[in-house]
Symmetry: C2
Subunit: 389 residues, 2 copies
């Protein structure tokens, strides 16, 4: 269980509608927090994850702009792109870079500002991560695609929609104690079922909202991590896998193959079994993706994910706590930032700083971030430093 990289500091903004602040303002806030936590080390590389700033904010070239805004003169800076998996992909590249083991730190920032355009434009941009040839021009949306998967799941396994949305209910419950969450209040199954229909059967409260946010991490090489930080967190594995973008061409519509592949590679690299993990930060743009993630990870058989929800096994304190700080539905889902938020929250858990949502004795956590409906998946396994060595 040798660490690939060490997390030396974390930071994030509250997810919300930040009308009065720019994309760069948010990124700078998150980065300065993370840098301060890490003791303001010298930074030799900056990785930025963002999904669509040219379209949402009329601004590209974020890596150079952020380097400049942080006064990191001349620093190497790279932007990484994979729709709403951009944050974890940036983290992946940063881990590779940090693992090369030089002295200075590597800074990672995931950022998205989605409220500068109207909601229909957000829906249009989101579809650009799908296959334009097959899907975009048909007029369907990502929640529409999720609705098809939800219907198929219900038909195939005889599942009830009110059980599937327990994923969203769990998110909101955990978000209640997260000061950075966009929706820090509980919801009931009834509230979900009574919320407006987005794409039959998917309801509004079953769908991640539109929000602005930024999250950041400072990484270092494993060597010297203990000197550089009081409480480093170990990245044990960082793996990426892809699947067919066009849903219609997938052999297994409900299989989330890329997630299964990335998770298997990550667990192999980390040398841990899925049953050893203490919590899971999953990618639930709508509840069905969370349910299918439980199954792709092997926490449940195909069709059994909904059982775990019904039996309360995803709650903090139960067998496999999920989205402990609110997940995509509760904390919010600023696309390119989400993967980095997940890592920030996992670091809180592993440092014992998750407050009322602390998973008792958490030593190992898995985070998974996807582009769209799993065309790209990125999985990280993180650990308390003492466990990693």
């Amino acid at each position: 269980m040798r660490a690939l990289a060490a997390i030396l500091g974390v930071g994030c903004t509250k997810v919300g509608e930040h009308w009065e602040r720019s994309l760069l303002d948010l990124a700078v806030e998150a980065c300065l927090k993370a840098l301060e936590e890490a003791g303001n080390p010298r930074v030799r590389a900056l990785y930025v994850g963002n999904a669509a700033s040219e379209l949402l904010n009329e601004q590209g070239n974020l890596s150079a702009l952020l380097a400049d805004a942080l006064a990191l003169e001349g620093v190497k800076a790279v932007e990484v792109r994979a729709g709403d998996a951009s944050g974890s992909l940036a983290l992946h590249q940063a881990c590779l870079d940090a693992s090369l083991g030089r002295d200075e730190a590597v800074l990672v920032c995931g950022v998205e500002k989605m409220t500068d355009v109207m909601a229909p434009e957000v829906a249009r941009v989101q579809m650009l991560f799908e296959d334009a040839r097959s899907t975009f021009h048909s007029g369907i949306t990502v929640p529409g695609l999720c609705a098809l998967l939800t219907s198929l799941y219900m038909d195939l396994y005889g599942a009830d929609y009110e059980d599937i949305v327990l994923m969203a209910v769990n998110d909101h419950k955990n978000a209640t104690n997260n000061p950075y969450a966009q929706y820090p209040f509980p919801i009931t199954v009834e509230a979900v079922l009574n919320s407006p229909l987005v794409a039959d059967p998917v309801r509004l409260f079953d769908t991640a909202g539109i929000g602005d946010g930024a999250a950041a991490l400072v990484l270092g090489a494993p060597e010297g991590a203990k000197e550089a930080s009081d409480a480093p967190v170990a990245v044990l594995a960082s793996e990426v896998a892809t699947d067919k973008v066009n849903l219609c061409e997938r052999e297994e519509l409900l299989g989330l193959r890329s997630l299964g592949l990335a998770a298997r590679r990550a667990l192999d690299r980390a040398g841990v079994g899925i049953e050893e993990l203490d919590f899971f930060e999953l990618h639930n743009t709508t509840s069905i993706l969370g349910v299918l993630s439980l199954e792709a990870l092997g926490l449940a058989e195909p069709g059994g994910g909904v059982e775990l929800l019904r039996e309360g096994e995803v709650a903090i304190g139960a067998r496999c706590p999920v989205n402990t700080m609110g997940g995509l539905k509760g904390r919010g889902h600023p696309w390119g930032a989400t993967g980095v938020y997940q890592a920030v929250e996992a670091a809180w858990q592993l440092r014992g700083e998750a407050g009322k949502n602390q998973v008792e004795g958490a030593e190992l956590g898995l985070i998974s971030n996807m582009c769209g409906l799993g065309s790209v998946s990125c999985v990280h396994v993180l650990a308390r430093w003492e466990v990693a060595r």
Copy 2:
């Protein structure tokens, strides 16, 4: 001079107006050529460089789409973004990955399809790589910014425009023998001066055109490169640096600081002096950026770049051959592909396969690729394999 990675195969499409082919068609052609040259190795990672496919082609998520189109099932795939430096940034990340030294190959593809939209939209999108706050909303274009630098250079150093555009004339001369070049014909200084004015004093024939193209490389770890390929090419160094995006905030307007920094780091890493290099592939969106590159690299004093041009020192066979296969003006400049084209062409030189444009006994080459006017610069030093060991 230990190699960071080995180039095992290269491929590219002709740069041009590919009306009948899609972005992915071009990328697939380039990748299949590179993979075939490398003996179709098992690929463990794909890196894609692209500047603006969402805006130019209504399609994002290129890494997953290309992985699928190449039947690289489940492969790790990552897209890297930095305007017209995206190709070399993708190469940088791929080199880091390849240097981790596992068996399978790493594939890099730079691709851009710019002719799916009208030219004014291309000019608008190009401005998104600049700082929106200071520049985009003023209505100026990138050639306009280049015109300001050209005027400043002429004023400051008493240089003549007809000497500056010798950079474009040199490009076209070299492109004549490149079957993949967009403009494979010679031009004269008179032709440049008689071409339409784009932004005073910059003329049309002094400006890189709008084109479609893709280029690809197969990389492997240095260990085993000689077994994997008859003629591997060594990547000795790969370095990235940034500068202020907003030109007005730079201390030295004509200094291309990011290029100077990246080049110095790269030469240090490679352990070679600038005078040992046999050729240079430079980033000349307009001629002035090529002239300033000569100076930032230390091949000439500030103000002296134009001397090198006038004395014919940038020609093949002279002291410092530049843009040996046509550069941005002659070969063409499909933004996200350019940095990979430069590496493909450098590999041809170092393998002795540059035909009529062969630089006699070429052993070491430097390529530099920039975003916009140098907000990001990426420099690679490549070498004949025998020289690297």
